[in-house]
């Protein structure tokens, strides 16, 4: 451990002020915090809450059902990030659909999915376009490329989401937020200043040990002052203005819609869909996908977990009916999911 990480860790360990609830909004933060064993270093007064920043976890059951419909009923090849493969729909997942003959292709990038469509002209290729501000621009680039090349066999099943309104929905769930480092590369920091004006405290944090410890140390120190604060603790990557080209391509090609977040319900204007000019690349339009009402397992409390209302192990299904091998809720599927992280890394279990 280098000197500054040691100093930060010391500051965190010795915290004995008023109890602080810190929400890590971003699932990759959750994952890294567990992987680095940071929770074990925290004193009693500091509590980390895992928030809803994992696109897999907040994707509603009905979305998986739509993907299964496309794969099984319409015979489409579904290209997806690996994260979604095991997420349960109302009945079955992409993994189980594969055993029934569905074509499911894992990709690293939406742009690769468009490349796959180009290389397989005899297949109808649908990319499962999930993700926040960080991921959405690549989906837009894929569609723009497909349109430019006249590809008729590529489309998106969109479930892209934006964070602004989600931050507001989470207000009050924590005393300070660890804002998502990579979403912020796109959005910039203006939103956090607005939130600061509304009395919401937080810091933008990176993902390495030094960065996470420094960010937590800053939260501890700033909280002692008793005033709302915002600090960009990830300035080597996150600029105040963010990515103008990213916001431009998204606003040119997509428009806001109300969007359902698993557990949080519908948040107005928090989703994105392709504009009418790109309807040929919208899988729902192209393949006439019916409205599907997904049904989550009634015992599943992913929603409360995502809002930080309960700890994952307070859910009645946790570790019994719901495990990483047989997940019931999305929070147990995604390696970023709070339940999965709790189950896999919880040493006290």
């Amino acid at each position: 451990m280098n000197e500054n990480a040691r100093r930060a860790a010391e500051l965190i360990r010795s915290y004995d002020g008023r109890p602080l609830r810190i929400m890590e909004v971003c699932g990759t933060h959750t994952h890294e915090i567990f992987r680095l064993g940071i929770r074990g270093m925290l004193p009693e007064g500091l509590r980390l809450i895992s928030g809803p920043g994992c696109p897999v976890c907040v994707t509603p059951v009905g979305y998986i059902d739509e993907a299964l419909f496309l794969a099984l009923e319409r015979g489409c090849t579904v290209c997806t990030f690996g994260d979604l493969v095991r997420v349960p729909g109302t009945s079955g997942s992409l993994a189980s659909a594969r055993t029934e003959g569905a074509r499911v292709q894992m990709v690293y990038s939406p742009i690769d999915a468009q490349g796959y469509a180009e290389a397989h002209p005899d297949e109808q290729v649908v990319f499962l376009s999930v993700g926040f501000e960080t991921t959405t621009p690549a989906s837009c680039i894929a569609v723009r490329n497909a349109k430019g090349r006249g590809l008729a066999n590529f489309s998106l099943l969109t479930a892209n989401k934006t964070m602004d309104n989600a931050y507001r929905a989470l207000k009050g769930s924590a005393d300070a937020f660890l804002y998502p480092g990579h979403v912020s590369t796109m959005t910039g920091t203006a939103i956090y200043r607005e939130l600061l004006g509304e009395g919401v405290s937080g810091v933008v944090a990176g993902f390495t040990a030094s960065e996470l410890l420094a960010a937590l140390a800053v939260i501890v120190r700033m909280s002692e002052r008793g005033e709302p604060f915002f600090v960009n603790c990830y300035p080597r990557v996150v600029s105040d203005e963010g990515s103008v080209p990213a916001r431009r391509i998204v606003s040119e090609m997509m428009e806001p819609v109300d969007s359902e977040w698993r557990g949080l319900g519908v948040i107005a204007g928090s989703g994105l869909r392709l504009k009418d000019g790109f309807a040929d690349f919208d899988a729902r339009v192209k393949y006439d996908v019916p409205t599907i009402e997904g049904r989550a397992n009634p015992g599943c409390r992913c929603g409360d977990v995502l809002q930080g209302k309960i700890s994952p192990n307070a859910c009645p299904l946790f570790g019994t009916a719901c495990t990483p091998e047989h997940p019931v809720g999305a929070c147990m599927v995604s390696s970023e999911g709070a339940c999965s992280a709790f189950f896999k890394y919880d040493i006290s279990r």
């Binding site: 990480a5 064993g37 897999v56 690996g82 894992m106 990709v107 690293y108 993700g131 040990a209």
Partner: protein, 335 residues
Amino acid sequence: MEQDRITLAHGAGGRQSARLIHDIFRSHFDNPHFTADDAAVMEAPAGRIAMSTDGFIVSPAEFPGGNIGKLSICGTVNDVACMGARPLYLTCSFVLEEGFPLDALERIASSMEATAAEVGVEIVAGDTKVAKRGQVDGCFITTAGVGQVMEGVAPAGDKAEPGDAIIVSGDVGRHGCAILLARNDFQIEADVTSDCAPLAAGVASLLGAVPDTHVIRDATRGGVGTVLYEICEQSGVGVRLDQEAVPVDDAVAGVCGMLGLDPLYLACEGRVVVIVPAGSEQAALDALRASEHTAGAALIGRVTAEHAGRVVIHTPIGSEAILPEPTGELLPRIC
């Protein structure tokens, strides 16, 4: 062009089958015990024997650092070696897809010959079947092997004891990474060759130096992480790993970083996890490092009485984290 590919006639038992056996298998596998009869007949070795079998399916059949032929020899040789045995005889059974190129089969058989020769093991019997196109993927091989267990050694998965040293015989995850790259699903390029290698010599060297070695286990499917969990369960102990001590090739780390994978779960085909009594670690490391395919041996952790059944990682920031238990298919993650 039909002559350049496997046809159903090659598996029908007639002239074509005979020619395939003569041109490819007999020419590569020839040895005094290689049989044209129904079974090979050999002298029985003295003492105990170890016997194992393993099936091999890998796509693509040829990859940087090896092919399915080399893999099929290494896999069974290493399984037998892990029980403290010197591998003596192998059998192999091919299932070939109609249309499989004969020159690829030639290269596969040639690799088997070279690997068997390196180990000093004889391929004494074989079988070939041809399946219709689409029924199998190219070339599947099953090998079985027997070896003579060395005097006075009995490594086993249930013998790990608290305080024991945990050694891995080289950098982890290169085979899995090489295969992932060869499939090119993720369009990543990196100079990664499979770690596929026969480990009988390294294991013999180890057991010569540390005859009371507690556990030797080859880390194939599921990688080193999975093997450590298996040993924890079998021996009723815990494991503490020093994260920074686990050897990982730079390019493997880069590929894993892009895809959100942990090299501890990627398959190896030429790595063993070795557990030796406290105090024997230096002798074990020296003995392993003296052999070509185990030259990269490193001490990576200790067996513990605490947290039985769990692998705990000591992180570079001085904290402890659980290594998550592996769960089935490796899924790259992006978000």
